[in-house]
C-alpha cells in the first residue's frame, strides 16, 4: 500500500517551472526545452494508469522527463558529427616545451567541500557550460551533472573510454578557464576595490 497518488490538475503549477529549469540546463535551447516539458506531461497523462504508486508523483514525472531528454540527445546525435580534433582547435596549448603550465592555475581560495554553498560560482558554472562545444557539453552533463555511468555514456555516443576521458579533461579545462575569466577576475576586482 502506498499513499502516492497522481493529481494531473496540479502538475503544471507544482512541477512546470522546476521541470523546465531542469531541462533547460541540459538542452540549452529554449524551444527544445519547452517542447520536452510539454511532451513529458502529455506522455505522463497517457501513462497515468501505469503509475504503481511506488514513487512520488514528482519523481515519477522526472523519470519520464529524463527519458525525454535522453531521446532528445539521441535525436541530435545524427546531426552532430563527432570529431575530437575539430573541437581541439579552439583551445590554446596550456603548456610550454618543458611541460610546465603556460598560465599557472590560480588558488581560488575555496574548500571543495564547501564550494557547493557558493551559489554565485554555481551560476557562473552554468553559464560556462553553455559555452562548451555541444558534444562536450552533453557528455559533461551526463557524466558530472547527472552522474551517469561511463559505460552507458560511451554506448550512447559510440565512443571509447579513452575518448571519454580526453573529452572530460578538455571540458574541465575549458570550464576552469571560463570560471577564472568570469568569476575569479570579478572576485579579484572586489578585493582590490575594498
Amino acid at each position: 500500500m502506498s499513499d502516492h497518488k497522481l493529481d494531473s490538475n496540479m502538475w503544471v503549477d507544482r512541477y512546470g517551472d522546476i521541470m523546465y529549469r531542469y531541462t533547460l540546463l541540459r538542452v540549452k535551447d529554449v524551444d527544445s526545452a519547452e517542447e520536452i516539458v510539454q511532451n513529458t506531461f502529455m506522455a505522463a497523462i497517457q501513462a497515468q494508469s501505469n503509475f504503481a504508486g511506488l514513487s512520488t508523483e514528482k519523481s515519477w514525472l522526472f523519470g519520464i522527463l529524463k527519458h525525454k531528454i535522453m531521446d532528445h540527445f539521441r535525436g541530435q546525435k545524427r546531426l552532430m558529427s563527432f570529431n575530437l580534433s575539430d573541437n581541439d582547435d579552439s583551445t590554446e596549448p596550456d603548456y610550454d616545451t618543458s611541460g610546465h603550465w603556460r598560465i599557472f592555475p590560480k588558488d581560488w581560495g575555496l574548500d571543495p567541500e564547501k564550494a557547493a554553498e557558493n551559489n554565485e560560482l554555481a551560476r557562473h558554472l552554468q553559464g560556462c557550460l553553455d559555452g562548451l562545444p555541444e558534444k562536450f557539453r552533453q557528455i559533461f552533463i551526463m557524466k558530472e551533472v547527472d552522474g551517469l555511468d561511463s559505460t552507458q555514456i560511451c554506448n550512447e555516443f559510440d565512443i571509447k573510454p579513452t575518448n571519454l576521458w580526453v573529452i572530460l579533461h578538455r571540458a574541465r579545462n575549458q570550464l576552469k578557464q571560463c570560471l577564472e575569466a568570469h568569476w575569479l577576475s570579478k572576485q579579484e576586482d572586489k578585493k582590490t576595490k575594498s
Binding site: 494531473s8 529549469r21 533547460l24 551533472v145 574541465r172
Partner: protein, 94 residues
C-alpha cells in the same frame, strides 16, 4: 628550474603529463603506477595542487546544478501561455 622541468618531462611526470591523469582519476579507478605519478608530482607542484582543487570544485558544483529542485535559476519560468496550453491539454486528455 628549467632543468627540473626537463627531468620531470623525461620521467613523464611534468604538469602536462600529470594534469590529464588527475582528471582521469576522477572518472574511474586508475592503475597504481598512474596514482604514484600523480602523488609524486603533486608533492612538488603547487600549481597542479591548485588545478586538482579547481577540478574538485567543478565536480562538486556540477552535481549541485543537476539536482531536480536546484533553485539556481529560479528567475526562469515556463511561459504562462504555455502553462495554460499544457493545463488545457492535460484536462482534455485525462
Amino acid at each position: 628550474m628549467k632543468m627540473i622541468g626537463a627531468l620531470l618531462k623525461q620521467l613523464k611526470i611534468s604538469c602536462e603529463d600529470t594534469s590529464p591523469l588527475i582528471s582521469e582519476s576522477m572518472d574511474h579507478r586508475i592503475s597504481l603506477g598512474k596514482k604514484l605519478r600523480i602523488k609524486i608530482h603533486l608533492a612538488i607542484c603547487g600549481a597542479c595542487q591548485c588545478y586538482k582543487t579547481q577540478l574538485d570544485i567543478i565536480k562538486t558544483l556540477a552535481r549541485k546544478l543537476g539536482a531536480e529542485d536546484s533553485d539556481l535559476k529560479n528567475e526562469v519560468s515556463l511561459r504562462p501561455e504555455l502553462k495554460y496550453k499544457i493545463k488545457h491539454s492535460l484536462k482534455t486528455n485525462s
